[in-house]
């Protein structure tokens, strides 16, 4: 590959022999051997973290996965093509028709900036990498970086060995892999890196107590705030940590310096993100972040004043200050809340505190599968042996508490709580589990291997003592051998646990987390069928419809249609306007005549549904339909959920209600399906997802006609007719 360099001849003063000598001398030192070993391990960890995430590319191809990544990809294209300022002010007229979306002001741009910078750098280095490939490989690349940061974090928390274990565990933890395989071009891909970096730099700032280190942490916080909405987790966790340190009597000037600097610089930086802006000051979600800052200042002022004033005067001052602060604070809060300056608690926030909140009040939040509460199985699935190692780590943290380990404990406990509420937040818990487990594993390994090694050394050293006290030597030796075997056993068990952890991770990654969900594969070996219906349909839209055509579909597919089909959509995965989504839900749930009115009002040209009855693809629109009914009914009470349920049962069989069987969604899904035999031995119109024959086989469409149906019937597109010419 590399061209042969013209040989410049041997260097005049350094012969090969002397170079070899230098290297040999250097390598024989224990310290440099250890450094070399550590570097090699880290390089391998880095490569491992990168490579384990490439299953999807090898199995399928280099494509962007799922839903949200398509928006990120499209935004990145816009950023690269139009430039920074155009992206910053981007008003997207192709989504949320006719409302449009101010993308520049409603997006966390960190991911797009990252990919765009990587692209520019590769261009500068004359490496011709396609933007799509940059986007596909951003997540694995950052997973490697996260592993390195985990090394630094572990080192900061305990020691180098912990760092190495943390890096290795982090590289393959399935909870993190689930969101960072190649092609998963989502905010979390870079945000977990930013999160771990911020925590690492924060602990470092607390340990060092310098302004410079806190400023560094604030910049990491900026990256997090620019990348993911979970930055709020950081800006609540750090004040919580400060409060705990304060209460437990470990509060120090180092913490004061770190927090005050972090607050000032971090707030200013985070406010530069357009989506956050002044929310960072006014939002209730960040009340503790700002409140703790004020509290610290008051405390320090009091401490300062106490040294200057007498006890009596000081007591009066404290009393006066408390009364004044209480009155002003209460009045101020009341005014802010009443005038609406203090944002109300958002639903997503309530969900974190009360897991049942969303199900009761916000169907649109509850309808997202990644917002569901976590099951125990998924802890084992995503963390495996870490679930058992982490409590041990907690034990070690409590045994020898430092500022760093206390932070880790707080981080871990809150992360575990939040991960129990929402599946998605498993992602945040994974680093905490990794670090705790790293502490546990390295502590066990250290003590075990030390015990293994010391007897040999002790024997030679203590042999004169042993001869002097011959009586104890026999039992001592016996003791040593049993200890040795115990320690060997401990080492072996640890090795087994880690080995099963790594094989589990590889298995999970290859089986569960590497499907792009835009291309589906069913069956094995010679019966393998590749279902590429999504792209087939989106490219059909791109090439066969008017450039300004509007496509109505359920919001799940909005990002994909705009990115791959390049057509305007009514609603998409950025669920910012519940009413608009409810309008689409209402159209899907209404009968055809009613739906036609809604579609005409929204200028809809095409209606698109995902249908699995033919292929057995189970996450289709009929299975999501009840959510459409609920979301539509939440805004438009004419839609009632009970009308769609046959005696409380959701069914599209002949038991289904008339409302159900006449809804637009039923018609669009099952148009012409009644004539089809899908399985041997079953009647026509046998739905392979629901496993029964559909209720109404003769579906007639008046206001729409079928424009396109993909190979396996997964995507069906209908054209909305114009008004009748003569009536």
């Amino acid at each position: 590959m590399s061209p042969v360099k013209p040989s410049s001849g041997p260097e005049p003063y350094v012969s090969h022999a002397s170079l070899f000598e230098t290297a040999k001398r250097y390598l024989t030192k224990t310290k440099s051997q250890e450094l070399l070993l550590r570097s090699i391990i880290l390089i391998f960890v880095y490569l491992l973290a990168f490579c384990i995430r490439l299953f999807s590319v090898l199995r399928y191809e280099s494509v962007i996965h799922e839903f949200d990544p398509y928006f990120n990809y499209r935004s990145t294209i816009n950023l690269v093509q139009e430039g920074f300022y155009e992206f910053w002010n981007w008003f997207d007229a192709e989504s949320w028709h006719p409302l449009g979306r101010v993308v520049g002001g409603t997006v966390y741009p960190g991911l797009m900036f990252t990919a765009a910078i990587l692209y520019k750098v590769s261009q500068f280095l004359t490496a011709c990498i396609k933007l799509r490939d940059i986007c596909v490989f951003t997540a694995p690349f950052f997973a490697g970086n996260t592993a390195l940061i985990a090394y630094l974090f572990g080192k900061e928390l305990k020691d180098t060995e912990t760092g190495l274990v943390a890096a290795a565990l982090m590289a393959v933890v399935p909870g993190y892999i689930s969101r960072s395989v190649a092609g998963s071009f989502d905010n979390e891909a870079v945000a977990i890196f930013a999160l771990v970096t911020t925590f690492y730099l924060w602990v470092r700032a607390v340990n060092q107590g310098t302004i410079a280190s806190a400023v560094l942490a604030a910049f990491a916080y900026l990256y997090m705030a620019a990348s993911w909405g979970a930055y709020v987790f950081i800006s609540n966790l750090i004040p919580l940590y400060v409060i705990i340190m304060f209460v437990s009597g470990r509060y120090s000037r180092r913490i004061y310096v770190a927090y005050t600097t972090f607050w000032a610089v971090g707030s200013l930086l985070a406010m530069q993100v357009r989506f956050i802006g002044f929310n960072h000051v006014t939002s209730n979600e960040l009340l503790s972040f700002n409140g703790v800052f004020v509290g610290l200042q008051v405390w320090e002022a009091l401490v300062f004043l106490r040294t200057k004033l007498g006890t009596k005067q000081f007591g009066q001052l404290v009393y006066l200050t408390a009364v004044a602060a209480g009155a002003v604070g209460a009045a101020g809060t009341a005014i802010l809340v009443l005038s609406g300056k203090l944002n109300p608690w958002t639903g997503r926030f309530w969900t974190l505190l009360d897991p049942t909140y969303a199900k009761k009040f916000i169907p649109i939040v509850a309808s997202v599968s990644e917002h569901q509460p976590t099951t125990w199985a998924s802890y084992i699935f995503d963390l495996h042996v870490l679930v058992f190692a982490a409590p041990a780590g907690l034990y070690f943290c409590f045994k020898r508490p430092t500022d760093g380990t206390i932070f880790l404990t707080v981080f871990a406990l809150t992360a575990i709580y939040f991960s129990g509420i929402m599946v998605r937040l498993m992602l945040v818990a994974a680093p905490a589990f990794v670090l705790l487990s790293a502490i546990a594993v390295s502590s066990i390994l250290q003590s075990a291997s030390k015990e293994l090694r010391t007897p040999a050394a002790a024997e030679t050293k203590t042999s004169p003592v042993a001869t002097r006290r011959g009586r104890t030597s026999a039992s001592n030796e016996e003791n040593i051998t049993t200890k040795k075997s115990t320690n060997l056993m401990i080492l072996g068990l640890t090795f087994l646990a880690l080995w099963s952890y790594s094989s589990h991770s590889v298995w999970v990654t290859s089986e569960a987390y590497s499907s792009p969900s835009i291309v589906l594969i069913s069956g094995w070996g010679p019966h393998r069928v590749v279902l590429d219906d999504f792209r087939e349909a989106y490219y059909w839209l791109r090439h066969n419809t008017a450039p300004d055509a509007k496509v109505m579909s359920w919001w799940d597919y909005g990002y994909q249609i705009t990115a791959m089909g390049n057509r305007t959509v009514i609603v998409d995965n950025n669920t910012w306007n519940n009413t608009h989504i409810a309008t689409v839900g209402r159209a899907m749930a209404s009968n055809e005549t009613e739906a036609y009115k809604i579609m005409r009002q929204l200028d809809v040209d095409y209606a698109l549904v995902i249908f699995g009855g033919m292929s057995g693809y189970s996450s289709d629109d009929i299975n999501k339909f009840l959510w459409m009914v609920r979301i539509g009914g939440g805004v438009f009470p004419v839609i009632k959920e009970s009308d769609y349920l046959a005696n409380g049962d959701y069914t599209v069989s002949s038991r289904g209600t008339q409302t159900m069987l006449n809804s637009l969604m039923y018609k669009l899904s099952y148009y012409d399906f009644g004539n089809i035999m899908t399985e041997h031995g079953k009647g026509t119109g046998y739905d392979r997802v629901r496993n029964y024959e559909i209720g109404k086989k003769d579906v007639q469409l008046d206001h729409l006609y079928e424009a396109f149906t993909s190979e396996h019937w997964i995507v069906r597109i209908y054209r909305v007719k114009d008004l009748e010419n003569r009536f």
Partner: protein, 424 residues
Amino acid sequence: MARQFLLPLFLLAALGVTSASKSVLVLLQNVNTADKYSKFFGSLRDYGFDISVKSVKDSSLKLKEYGTWLYDDLVLFAPPAEGFGGKIDRQVILEFVDSGHNVLMALNSDASESMRNLAAEFGIDVDDRGSKVYDHFSHATLNGKEDHTLIAGGNVVDAPVMVGGPYKEPVLFRGIASVIPGDAELATVALGAPSTSYSHAPKQAMLEPPSLMVGSSISLVTAVQARNNARVVVAGSLEMFTDDFFDAVVTVKGVSTHTSNWAFTVTMARWAFQDRGVLVASNMRHHLLGSDEQPWGYRVNDDVEFLVDVVELDGGVPKPFAADDIQLEFIMLNPYIRQPLQHDGNGTFSLRFKVPDVYGVFKYYIDYAHRGYSYIKLTHQVPVRPFKHNEYERFLVCAYPYYASAISIMVGFFALGFFYLYNK
């Protein structure tokens, strides 16, 4: 975008060429009776129509050959015909209309089922076979015979572009009644029945009330303009097109008078064949005030001007259209602006307005449906974006306290730092 501008121009060009000789196919029950309508056809020929008369049963009949339409307009003067010869049937005629061509059909009380079904396709309900329109008050006496089915008191609709007029002399009518059902949005009454009239089939027993078709709910001549601007006229009387009725001198309520049939029917036919009342909107454009370029979109609160040229074609000759009731809407889900366009007398309609303080994908929308004129329906999409980050006003007077506080903090910090560091 370009398509929207070009289409009317092509249309204009097409109309300009074809109006020289628009070919009309006339189908009669009996070709030998063509002389009865000589004045009617003669007048149409004078207006430049190329008329070919054929029998409805002619086996060589065809409207379409090799995918092109052979005629621009179709006249059906064969009420009793149960079907058509050659390659014409109801479906072909509907297709003919749906592709923008026009039909004039005349019926009488002997109208066949197939003719009534055809009328029903255009949203017109024709009464049963054998029924006639009676009026015991507003009828005419022709040649000394008093005939209660010879209606002379019909109400010509007040739409001169469609029917001409106003007429001093009555329009004679003898034939079958029609009504326009409530859900037919596109049909309109061109000649309404007098309020004292009713429809009745003499061979059947008199009902009480006589029929559902009573008084002014009866339409004698009905005009339909389809959404693609194709026009259909259904007259309940074939006789009203005859030379006899054109030349007749009748006595109505004791007063002797000529009839307006000639002028009425010819005007009506010219309207039906899109020779009158055709509006063509073209050259739709919009720009910011102070700029001639058409932008991709606007910013909120921009001042903009919208312009469109509308001409009226009369006999194929364009002349500037003038009306005060063409409304422009600026819609995003709801119309934010709905205002009449101003015209300058030369056919250019315009409106200046301020874009609302709401961003989104707006559309200009004109939906002009004035009775007698062809529809104008224009839509054009314009995104309205919010301010860019550098487009907000700077150095606001009301923000001076904030500037002052920021600067004072900086100065104070500097002074304090200086004092703290160097004042030992």
